[in-house]
């Protein structure tokens, strides 16, 4: 009735060749786009062949880029934080308000940083203790923090002391200080994420939080520390922005959360968590700066620039999803 065959041993699918593992990943796409963007931009304007010009352009986005590095870790852990730009504004406003009211500068700076930490703690508390989805929490606090900044600062600019101004013009070995901070942060966080147990556990939580808890990983503690770090780094970025602009208004960094998310996504961070690298976000930050500066040099209307960034974001998300679905089951 039926041919009885000796069943062949079920063969395992072969492992992917090593070169594929290394090459086929979202960061490669970011790198290729970066090279293309550099090439295209240098056709538009010879300025783009000048490293100094690119570095100066980068100072305009460096604060967002720094926060985007931490945001990358938050997203890999399976959460999101949309409040950092508002956090930057509120901590900068508190700092500026305090020093204007006569508080000594070191204390005013400490107030700004502490405020950022508290804002991160509020986000973390609601996400981790009250179990509210982080996207809802941080949309709420994004509005709240920005609103508080406006309450404190009104709609006027608060000046900061002259000596505090111009962190972006301080050059160390020809590199603006803010850019240098970004590069150093990238290296540190890159090492933390890829080489330490803390980093490893961030990926594990983002991949499967239930399994992580069962394996004895203290996921709540790790997530809380990420939200705290996010708050603190946002405040630092807020003060850096205040220094660059020379004054603080409630609308400092307005809309910055989208640029940060864009950098993370463009760098191949997976929006559902568990995948992504600091290297990707690092490359994406440069890509974004070159694309937007390039468009400005080419006299592309701001509205059209926005369209291009939107398209870039969508394309990057699709490409990332595609690559992950093809290479990992």
């Amino acid at each position: 009735m039926s041919a009885i065959q000796t069943p062949a041993a079920r063969e395992l699918p072969p492992a992917r060749p090593r070169w594929q593992v290394i090459v086929i990943r979202p960061e490669t796409m970011t790198l290729v786009l970066l090279i293309l963007a550099l090439f295209g931009a240098s056709l538009l304007s010879p300025y783009f062949l000048d490293v100094g010009y690119i570095l100066r352009s980068f100072t305009l986005s460096a604060e967002f880029a720094i926060v985007a590095l931490v945001l990358t870790m938050v997203i890999i852990a399976g959460e999101i934080d949309l409040s950092p730009a508002a956090n930057m504004a509120l901590s900068a406003c508190l700092f500026a308000f305090a020093q204007q009211a006569g508080v000594p500068m070191p204390l005013a700076i400490a107030i700004g940083l502490f405020a950022g930490l508290v804002m991160g703690a509020i986000n973390g508390f609601m996400v981790i203790r009250l179990q509210i989805p982080s996207i809802i929490v941080t949309i709420g606090t994004l509005t709240l923090y920005r609103g508080l900044a406006q309450v404190i600062a009104g709609d006027k600019s608060i000046r900061v002391p002259d000596w505090f101004i111009g962190i972006n013009t301080v050059l160390i070995a020809g590199i603006p200080l803010t850019v240098l901070i970004f590069i150093v942060m990238s290296v540190i966080l890159g090492v933390v994420l890829s080489m330490t147990i803390f980093g490893r556990q961030i990926y594990q939580i983002g991949t499967n939080e239930v399994a992580a808890r069962h394996a004895g990983i203290r996921s709540q503690r790790i997530k809380m520390s990420l939200f705290l770090l996010m708050g603190l780094v946002s405040a630092v970025a807020g003060l850096m922005t205040a220094s660059r602009l020379g004054s603080v208004r409630y609308d400092l960094g307005l809309g910055g959360e989208l640029q940060m998310v864009l950098m993370a996504m463009l760098g191949g961070t997976y929006i559902f968590g568990g995948r992504g690298t600091i290297l990707g976000t690092f490359l994406a930050a440069w890509l974004l700066v070159i694309v937007s500066t390039g468009m400005t040099v080419a006299n592309v209307l701001p509205a059209v620039q926005l369209v291009v960034l939107g398209v870039l974001l969508i394309v990057s998300i699709i490409a990332t999803n595609f690559i992950y679905s093809r290479t990992q089951r």
């Binding site: 009735m1 039926s2 041919a3 009885i4 065959q5 069943p7 062949a8 079920r10 063969e11 395992l12 699918p13 072969p14 492992a15 992917r16 593992v21 080489m195 330490t196 147990i197 803390f198 490893r200 556990q201 990926y203 594990q204 991949t207 499967n208 239930v210 399994a211 992580a212 808890r213 069962h214 394996a215 004895g216 990983i217 203290r218 568990g274 995948r275 992950y324 990992q328 089951r329």
Partner: protein, 505 residues
């Protein structure tokens, strides 16, 4: 009965997923008015074949004829129109819709904006339930129903679309014996009406009680089809595994030592009550009972995943309070959870990383991961447990279920636990690998570890355990010594004594 054309004839059905052939040239005829069992190990191809009949998968090669006419079953909707219904083990339904609404799902009569004929729908639903002889209020949402009742609703759905072929994929696993009897009664009536029923099960005694013919699958091939009366249990097992099954080795009795884990009066209201027991070093204690009796919840409470609200846990003579798994691990406890995909593996991460997940201090004494140490640990585990893989760096999701489970066990062995809680460790694993697991569990006990083994498979409990605890409806109902343990003593303690509300009469 005069018409002898089979209801469905399958010829040369093959199916592959990617490069892996899961079904090879299957020829099978299903007659009208028969209950036909599909048997085989996990992964033998029986479920794939059933899903091809139901339009869930499309065959890579081969033809199907229905009543002598060639048909192409493109998708489940086509299958339903042809009169083929697949009843899932865990019924797929819309829990917030009423029973009556669930009954008419997928039957898009009328347009998008057609009026919903509520009264008629309810009337028809009641009629169907009466036909089946089950008392379910059809206006209630599905959410509150027992699994047995949800299955009845699925069967009613099959009747509503006048299905001629009803496929039941392991329907009895979550049911109590009484519910199983009800289900069988209905299945027999449907057969007597001339419908065909395909019954997929692992339980030979059920197949024997219910089915007319059996077809046995092994490694994607159809091995044999015969009338149930012509085959002995030993024949069936031999055909299923292709070799005589060596008797499960009654493990060498380990030296039983001090109490390693003691639980007293553990209670989580509404889930389990007043649970007390102890497990000694070298002892394998079974925890049996029906699905939903609260066994997994007790394990989760001990391990700190969802702690109990009262009661005490004592580990190695010391009273402890465990509120999260990390503490349990520090105390030398390990827990292999039942749901591997949800609570065990990190699907997209490497095998290596999955194996080392619970021992960060071993792979990174100073916080920085020592790749060489990790690799050595993982390689050693792979060798010891003979895990089959292509590379340590491949995502664990690419491994077979049995090898994933071995990797999870390997993870816990690295923590060198003194108490090991195994929750359905062999679920979804081929018989061959199962035997390896049994040997491993025996060896682990022999090396002085205390083992709490939760299992729904009675032969597994009987073969491995020194003592068997039984839970029913959140309470411990028996503590049976190995000498007194039989399938009957375990089952009689597992079956709830008070009829639950909502259980099919």
């Amino acid at each position: 009965m005069t018409d002898t054309t089979p209801l469905i004839s399958a010829r040369g059905i093959s199916k592959h997923f990617a490069a892996i052939e899961v079904l090879r040239d299957v020829d099978l005829d299903l007659q009208r008015g028969e209950i036909h069992a599909l048997l085989g190990e996990n992964g033998a191809g029986k479920s794939t074949f059933a899903k091809i009949l139901a339009g869930v998968h499309r065959p890579s090669r081969g033809t199907l004829t229905l009543n002598g006419e060639p048909v192409e079953i493109l998708n489940p909707i086509v299958a339903q129109k042809l009169g083929i219904t697949l009843i899932h083990q865990e019924p797929i339904s819309f829990p917030d819709l009423s029973v009556a609404e669930n009954l008419v799902l997928g039957r898009g009569d009328g347009g998008w904006f057609a009026r919903v004929p509520w009264a008629e729908m309810t009337r028809n639903a009641r009629a169907l339930m009466d036909l089946l002889g089950v008392r379910i209020d059809v206006t209630r949402p599905m959410r509150g129903l027992s699994i047995a009742d949800q299955q009845m609703v699925e069967i009613a759905r099959a009747l509503a679309s006048d299905s001629r072929l009803i496929i039941m994929d392991e329907p009895t696993a979550p049911l109590t014996p009484k519910e199983v009897e009800t289900l069988f009664g209905i299945a027999r009536r449907l057969r007597d009406e001339g419908r065909t029923i395909v019954f997929i099960s692992h339980r030979l005694e059920e197949v024997r009680a219910l089915c007319d013919r059996v077809t046995i699958f092994r490694d994607g091939n159809k091995i044999a089809t015969d009338t149930i009366g012509n085959l002995t249990d030993a024949d069936i097992i031999r055909l299923m595994i292709g070799r005589p099954l060596k008797e499960f080795r009654h493990k060498a009795r380990a030296q039983i030592g001090d109490v390693a884990l003691k639980v007293e009066g553990l209670t989580l209201p509404g889930v389990f009550h007043d649970i007390s027991f102890e497990v000694r070093k070298g002892e394998i204690v079974g925890l049996g009972g029906l699905v939903g009796a609260g066994r997994t919840d007790v394990a989760r409470a001990i391990f700190g995943v969802a702690p109990a609200t009262s009661g005490t846990v004592t580990v190695a003579g010391k009273r402890v309070s465990i509120t999260e798994p990390a503490q349990a691990i520090d105390l030398g406890l390990a827990f292999v959870p039942e749901d591997r995909a949800a609570a065990g593996i990190f699907r997209t991460l490497s095998v290596e990383e999955n194996i080392s997940a619970a021992v960060p201090k071993q792979v990174a004494p100073a916080g920085f991961i020592q790749r060489a140490v990790e690799k050595a640990l993982a390689q050693e585990s792979v060798r010891k447990l003979s895990i089959k893989l292509a590379s340590l760096r491949q995502p664990i999701g690419e491994l077979s279920g049995g090898n994933q489970q071995k990797a999870i066990l390997a993870r816990w062995l690295l923590t060198d636990p003194s108490v090991l809680i195994l929750d359905e460790p062999t679920r979804g694993i081929d018989i061959g690998v199962k035997a390896e697991f049994y040997d491993m569990i025996g060896d682990l006990a022999a090396s002085g570890r205390a083992i709490l083994l939760i299992s729904s498979e009675l032969p597994e409990l009987l073969a491995l355990c020194d003592r068997i605890l039984v839970m029913s409806e959140g309470r411990l109902t028996a503590d049976i010594a190995r000498a007194d343990a039989t399938q009957e003593t375990i089952m009689s303690a597992a079956v709830p004594r008070t009829a639950r509300a909502g259980v099919a009469a």
